[in-house]
Amino acid sequence: MVARRPSTRLVQLRYLAHARSGDKGNTANVGLIALEPAYYPVLVREVTPARVARHFKGMVSGVDRFELPNFNALNFLLHDALDGGGTISLKTDAQGKVYSTALLRMDIPVPAALARRVARP
């Protein structure tokens, strides 16, 4: 769990970003795209490779992160995520198509003022 700082609230990533994922061999990639430009700096600060690795602990062997400020997006590589990948994998999601929404389950601390503006059902 992420420690809560006094002026922040935990918000699930699904309310801050959209995402698409795919595969390259036994690695899954997740492109995480801020729903609003104002959310992007929060994603850069809080959705760190270490936190994503913890989120997927036991499911992946390592995480790399790349920044795409031009899309307000981050790209994550999740290594050894696909039970061998391609045709070898026995997983339902052998091509890593829904790692995208698995990442959106993560809670991150968001400044309280910004959290109040986030649209949630």
Binding site: L68, N70, T87, K91, T101
Partner: protein, 461 residues
């Protein structure tokens, strides 16, 4: 035939993979003005499937759907002056090109059809010679040398870039049929041909690469599989596949035909751009290296996204080679358990099954159990399931190098219905099938070993 500056060239996506929506190319050709139709058929493992088909029938080995599809659209293609680029040729581009010519003859078109045939990507017959001369063709992921699995190799093809497509278009081809040309090359080729760009204008190469990447998965750029605001995407029963309107300065607009469903937005294009992405600064193709962090997207009207600013760098001295080899066997069996305590019943059944497999002394490389409805897509992140779940599907997969243990596994699923936990159903499909596993081995090879062998021919009918 270089067009003047200021004109745009319209390149439309017709297929995003082998098995994509069959109506899409027809609608692209008839639904509005386009100059080129590009159809991508080849995923990583497709080549090995095609190689297997060719070994059984020398006339096979290409994406067979392509020919009846071309037969449907050739009259429009010819009358509207549309040109087609496709890698449907697989491991038998000549067979594919000849089948298209035969279709053209059957149609009695108002003029002759010219088919450009690109070959030279297939290096299966040259593998031993290449290995003997010191090319290790090591697996890019594991680093193992190809000699470890040489006897199991089924197909080996180099990824070619746009050059042979440009040459075929220059030669007057109406339809260009290739083997393992990159998805992006099918879009780059028409752009370089039309604008007369030099292949070392790296920013132009990068721009065309990005354009190709955006449309190579078909409707995935125009509202299909779009997560952001998915409920508001209308008309997916008749999705407009994406179209690139390219300008001679390297900028382009992504759009779709008027009156079609789906949506072209910054969100739809961005989701496609991050799909299957590695390091965004270095998207490597045979033609150059594109920097995805330079791409600027702007909504420029309804279903129109303007793409500008793309920068890139020089091509690398190596070409990627796609090798497929025989790995072994796998099978997946499923059963459905009903309320109450559906998950507990499914879990108990999995235990019984594994116990029996162990008692039989069967060895597997992997046994994977998933509970569909509980954890199959998100694993432990899904949390504990409710005891009131209406049903759970037990899904067990096994793989092994030998056929026998996999074969025996397929006979251990049905007995669970009468010899395991209760409230079980969903076995209408019969015994699971044993599948052969063909695995993928990506490697690198010097350009100089490939490019002199690439050949472009223009055939007529």
């Amino acid at each position: 035939m270089t067009r003047t500056n200021g004109r745009t060239v319209r390149i439309a996506a017709g297929q995003g993979f082998w098995g994509d929506w069959l109506e899409a190319p027809v609608r692209q050709v008839r639904g509005g003005p386009i100059d080129y139709l590009m159809m991508d058929y080849l995923a990583e493992v497709t080549m090995s499937i095609l190689q297997k088909q060719k070994s059984r029938d020398p006339a096979a080995g290409y994406a067979r759907d392509f020919v009846p599809l071309m037969e449907r659209i050739l009259p429009d293609v010819v009358s509207r002056g549309i040109r087609v680029t496709s890698n449907a040729g697989g491991v038998n581009p000549r067979g594919c090109a000849e089948a298209v010519l035969a279709a053209a003859r059957r149609l009695e078109l108002p003029r002759k059809l010219r088919v450009g045939l690109v070959s030279g990507d297939d290096i299966l017959g040259r593998l031993d010679e290449l290995l003997a001369r010191g090319h290790a063709l090591s697996d890019m992921e594991s680093g193992r040398p190809l000699s470890d699995i040489r006897d199991a190799v089924l197909s080996a093809n180099a990824y070619l870039g746009m050059a042979p497509i440009v040459e075929a278009l220059r030669g007057g081809a109406d339809v260009v049929v290739t083997g393992r040309v990159t998805d992006t090359g099918l879009t780059l080729g028409p752009m370089f041909h039309e604008f007369g760009w030099s292949p070392d204008e790296w920013d132009k190469v990068a721009a065309g690469t990005v354009a190709g990447h955006i449309i190579e998965c078909g409707a995935q750029a125009s509202g299909g599989n779009l997560l952001k605001g998915w409920r508001s995407v209308k008309g997916l029963a008749d999705p407009g596949f994406p179209i690139v309107e390219a300008a001679s300065d390297g900028s382009f607009v992504v759009t779709k035909h008027a009156g079609t469903g789906g949506v072209v937005s910054v969100a739809s294009v961005t989701e496609q751009l991050v799909y299957e992405m590695g390091d965004p600064r270095s998207y490597i193709t045979p033609d150059g290296v594109a920097d995805f962090t330079t791409i600027q997207l702007r909504q420029a009207g309804r279903d129109r996204v303007r793409v500008t600013g793309i920068r890139g760098g020089p091509r690398t001295p190596m070409l990627k080679v796609s090798i497929a080899y025989f790995w072994g066997y796998k099978a997946v069996g499923t059963l459905v358990y009903a309320w109450p305590e559906a998950f507990d019943k499914a879990r108990a059944a999995d235990k019984v099954l594994r116990h029996r497999l162990a008692d039989l002394g069967l060895a597997y490389d992997q046994i994977l159990t998933e509970f569909v409805g509980v954890d199959a897509t998100h694993g432990r992140l899904s949390g504990a399931p409710s005891p009131e779940l209406p049903e759970v599907q037990l899904r067990v997969g096994v793989r092994a190098r030998e056929r026998a243990p996999v074969e025996r596994f397929t006979r251990e699923i049905a007995p669970l219905v009468l010899t395991g936990p209760p409230s079980v159903t969903g076995f209408a499909g019969g015994r699971p099938a044993v599948e052969e596993v063909v695995a993928y081995w990506p490697a690198l090879l010097d350009r100089g070993e490939i490019e002199p062998h690439v050949r472009v021919e223009i055939l007529e009918a």
